[in-house]
Symmetry: C2
Subunit: 410 residues, 2 copies
Amino acid sequence: MALVVMKFGGSSLADADKMKLVASRIIAKKNAGNKVVAVVSAPGDTTDELLEMADKITSNPPAREMDVLLATGEMISISLLAMAIDTMDEKSVSLTGPQAGILADINYTRARVKKVNPKKINSLLSKNNIVIVAGFQALNPKGDVTTLGRGGSDLTAVVLAAGLEADSCEIYSDVEGVYTTDPRLVKDAKKLEYISYDEMLEMAGSGAQILQSRSVEVAKKFGVEIHARSTFSENQGTIITSEEKIRRRKMEELFVSGITFDKNQVKFTIIDLPDIPGVAAKIFSSLAKIGINVDMIIQSAAVNKKNDISFTVSRKETKKTQIELDKIASEFKASQVVCDEHVAKISVVGIGMKSNAGVAGKMFEILHKKGINIEMISTSEIKISCIVDEMDMAKAVEELHKGFGLSKKK
Amino acid sequence: MALVVMKFGGSSLADADKMKLVASRIIAKKNAGNKVVAVVSAPGDTTDELLEMADKITSNPPAREMDVLLATGEMISISLLAMAIDTMDEKSVSLTGPQAGILADINYTRARVKKVNPKKINSLLSKNNIVIVAGFQALNPKGDVTTLGRGGSDLTAVVLAAGLEADSCEIYSDVEGVYTTDPRLVKDAKKLEYISYDEMLEMAGSGAQILQSRSVEVAKKFGVEIHARSTFSENQGTIITSEEKIRRRKMEELFVSGITFDKNQVKFTIIDLPDIPGVAAKIFSSLAKIGINVDMIIQSAAVNKKNDISFTVSRKETKKTQIELDKIASEFKASQVVCDEHVAKISVVGIGMKSNAGVAGKMFEILHKKGINIEMISTSEIKISCIVDEMDMAKAVEELHKGFGLSKKK
């Protein structure tokens, strides 16, 4: 008898009808001869509503109490889903994260899972129950409930699949799987049959938020194969698995798996910095100290013992970054700080790049042919990213998607 | 250093401003030199909203899952209140019922508290924390959260006051205390300084729902003195305590403490039942079997080996009762079942009755003088109740309130 972990996101649980649909999918899985553990997020916009309630009281809530508040969202889902399953005459038992034996460290609001104690779940499964587990939450060493950070229900599903040695881990949402690019932008985007953990991580980092990144990291660490699929269709979704397994299964190797894009970045440039050691270090450690993550960085070659540094940050950090850079610029007597909000990041992702030189060259060529100017470039083993003018983004994505052979075969 | 348990109801926690007011009252109590344990209900209409969510899925939810769902309401209150206290630079820690060491039996949705383990609360108090406890919920022997029935937060406050050997137990709501009758009906109703546990129980049973009845029973059992008062004023409320203590404190004894009324009853009469043994037993055991609580009962003297039986039930049971009585009437060949929905119950409550004959006589005389017909009568040691036509209710309450000397002195 196979053991399946099924995870359902908030948009799949937004009202009573959707709850019932989820219940019927879980029961069908059980009736097909499986033991089932279902992991659920808070219904619909519940988490945002709870955050809003807290925000009316304070902009700086104690983290422990924030976790008590947020944990209620998933408790609503587990109990309502158990009720829906009961109406279909199946046995189920709901468990909070702490009851399910998910043990985390002492950090509140972004706890790390340390261990899964599978005893209670296994005992309930052996008595023929469907087990429903509240995602996103865990028990910490103090005996308090704690949460795993935004999107933490994916992580709950993966750690349970690992801890229970499940045969499969299915993550359901309102999309059909992982696509070669966003189908809302490029009509002939294709659903991928397989994608590797590393590609998935690079795509998540580039704005395609299908799975929480930490859950993908943990799945990779423990070799948990994830099936990302839709709650609202029976279609096969996308399997996220190891590179090795994909290479074994794929007949024809693709250089590139997907094109991603991210409009949520702004570019800062500090002009005429002195070309002396330690300037870059000072800038980026100052930004890190106030919690600002810098993404892409380029430094121009020095001219007249002066040079420029450009980098991108998340759009919501624009103001904070500007204030900090103004201080730094005056300290180093730089001539100017320029902020460009009209940029977009385009990335080409694929494990095929490792063994195939020339992907970068092909990317630049495709963009150049269409007259698209590349402002910044960064590369990793399996990803090449460019910053372009946001006006060019849609065209760039479409051309790259076509140019790398990702469009549906006619 | 005195230990005070303060309980706040949902209407005192309905929005962020009210939460902050409650936080400031708790802090003021601590600053006056007390250790404080605050017990809270779910905010505003949260419990009703949760019930509605469940109702959209099933009319017959599993009790265990209902408790998981309902317990979230109080978790929202404890975390938000802890945040509000934090904004005022005081230390507090929120605890769910299970974390607070409130241990109950195995019944879901109406569990009985078996024991309070005060270890965690005492440890937090000794570290100078305000402790905030979710009312209405407890841990059962299976390790599940369970709830104590509607109004169960009052019970939480009382069992904590008993278990922690608190010096006082203050129950805050949106009313100033217990009144001689409902001030909305009789303008010169007076707030009582003291009322005994038994009077309070009789008044609750007669429709004056200031405190949950079981909490009053438990307070009586453990000798916990309750101070019922308003969240929104500094005025002294009403002390609910033992008869003995009241007799010691009161200079002038009152025969009667209050007049209550209840429009939430309907009267059924079965006409021409055979006057043979076992008929009444059959009727009331049939009703009990389907969960219908009967309040007042009268049986007429037999005439021609036939008699009539009348009794009252809660208005919401009207239909269920009618169906059951129609069956019984046909079984015993009774001639008719009559349902009167236009009745009201008026009660005179007071420990003074025990040692003072003539209260009943005076009550009947007052009603008679005003031409109010009494349809049914029942008495206990400290209460006399009459069923009257609902058209006469307001007048009856006003006249009894005046007649027993309860109106404010001019």
